[in-house]
Point group: C4
Chain length 223, copies 4
């Protein structure tokens, strides 16, 4: 491993470790149920949470480095049991540098009905550019989940997919962007659930969704 | 800029920055989704949150000062992408000195159905003097949102408006008063949602709403 | 005022102030919406929260001492705008030494439908000995609310009453006991709401409610 | 009592005391409503929470040691009023070393309808291996609750049972494992409730539930 890659990995261990605090802060996880990974730029590697370790015990050193086939190359722990899915996404989607998986309650509730979340909020148009799609049921182990994520998100603006009867996977140009998508996914899953439980939703017209999405990708935040 | 105005701006930077802690404390925001502004008395200026900055990174210095046309006159950050709406309200409503915008979940859920919140709680009569009205759908950018806020709140006692498919804007004689209205708006949006999801609401008679509103404006709190 | 009464008041100022932390900890309040009082034993006085002061600014000194007619005898603040209701309860119910008022969300939701909460949980049988009753609509100011509380709770085991379209009042042999009743009232209001929103409730037989209530009053906790 | 048993008890007092923090952290309890116990290996004893003591006042010393008939052998406090149920489980199920009891809101809501929670989430298949079963109504005092827990869980994969109109009991090979089951029980009770309140649930095929359960028991976490 070159010095540059070593330095990058050390930085990503700290970053991925710290980002897990956001899963706790936004109440996306229960016990040890969610995980974050980052691609190591310039190497066919990823950095991911260790399996079954509680969030307040995570340290940069406990993060696990694996190949994009999920084989551990650095670290004293077993990697997340979802590593195969993360790895498949990195192999198939070169523009993705971060992946997040949660069982956040409201998003997972939509998944237990096999339903996409309709786009009825401007914040949803901003971040997801339309509905959050539902993917198929897939068993853990091997590439089934990874393939289903990629198949569902290809051709969609949404960085989030609801995996049926399971939970959420989000992707991003960085691990932080994928975390933001996971946080916003639960937020809109909750608000749209509450909204629909009280009566009929008002749709947003498609051209307005387009306008909101394009504007948000361009001008929001600091340059 | 006169010394007096400079001192006032320095004070408002601290005040607006600190008030954002209330959005977090009362769980009105997700990621970076809400913002507060204050009018600068004696100048055609406002102080507002920077765009896309997380709440725990806000400092008085990161607040942005703009004209009432939304042009930045002081600050190193881009202002909130909702600045146009805040600015329009200050131009159109001289008695308003604070504006708050959130996507708080229950209030936004009512907005996704295009529904006003009926006044069935004494606390709602106290603070809002009746229903919390629904405004139209309006796209961000330019004055459309500002105009819709002003058109909906003019002639209403309510300091809060639900913008359709979007979220909440509140106004106040001070930024703190607008924050209080945003906090109470989510509280009553939640309680009335829960109430109606369990059966039929009992209305409060209009003359009782009037009596509660008048009393509360007069005698609540410390002199 | 005798030295003994002064010492008692000083102790109750600290106690009532600290108990307000429980309203925050159990999320029973929003902004400044709930209040606690204690009777001063051996004097026709009560100690109560000041009006409109936020919970993190409360100090023992800011508590207000009033007569049982609601007239301030000690303190630099205006007393809670609900003081009349607290005072009426102390005048009418000599066994009551603590009163709590909140607008906690789930309990208030039942009140907005004018519904009692049916006793379908053993924890509810323990603490309330049956349903939590609904009282009538009553306007703030004067004795209307106090009279309605007393009329509804007289002859009931429940230390909590839902005031229609308003919120909760609880009573206890101490301020702490009334706080516990307010905490448990919201807990069962929430659980029973959730339960009923998913289907038909299973009742508990009256003789089992009696057995649970009698046992709990006798053997729970430390001697 | 041998020195070894004394050391074990001292260790379990600390462990059981600390585990109660998880009931608070995951919001499974209200006021003093939940309790944890551990079997003392090599002795017919258990360590349990004292009755009616709040979670922030618990210390290792305040834990109570009883026989498996519920008689106190060490400790200055009265044991949990649920001690009989815990003790019965340890007598009847030799593989169980930890028991947890809560009234967590969503799980208790299912119990108030007398309903099992159907297995529609992969996380539920992982931890519970199928539905979470409902047990009968049983009165506190004596062995009725213990017998009902054992009768319902015998022959089930689930480490959790919903006791009708009451709450949750969970068992585990350690107190920590029983706590994890209590945490996950509330999590899935909530997610499945939310899911079903929005429409029809999609079932998971029985062979998939089996595959998930077997994999999770084998490979999750650190070796």
């Amino acid at each position: 491993m070159s010095d540059t890659v070593s330095d990058t990995i050390a930085k990503l261990r700290r970053e991925v470790c710290q980002l897990h605090e956001q899963l706790t802060r936004w109440e996306l996880i229960t016990w040890t149920s969610g995980n974050i990974s980052a691609r190591v730029p310039g190497a066919d590697l990823l950095v991911i949470k260790p399996s079954g370790v509680s969030y307040d015990e995570l340290t940069p050193e406990s993060m696990v480095v694996t190949t994009l086939d999920g084989n551990v190359v650095d670290g004293n722990h077993s990697p997340s049991s979802d590593t195969d899915a993360h790895a498949y996404v990195y192999r198939a989607m070169p523009h993705v540098n971060g992946v997040v998986h949660t069982h956040s309650a409201y998003a997972t509730a939509w998944s237990a009905r096999g339903e996409s979340i309709p786009c009825v909020l401007t914040a949803m148009a901003d971040e997801f550019g339309g509905e959050i799609p539902i993917g198929p049921f897939a068993l853990i182990g091997g590439d089934d989940i990874g393939k289903a994520i990629v198949a569902t998100l290809t051709g969609h603006r949404s960085p989030a997919v609801l995996m049926r009867n399971h939970g959420v996977f989000t992707i991003g140009a960085s691990a932080k962007a994928a975390v933001k998508a996971a946080v916003m996914c639960e937020d809109v899953a909750r608000t749209v659930h509450i909204a629909r439980s009280g009566g009929e939703l008002v749709p947003i017209e498609p051209q307005h969704i387009d306008a909101l999405y394009e504007r948000y990708q361009g001008v929001y935040g600091q340059r």
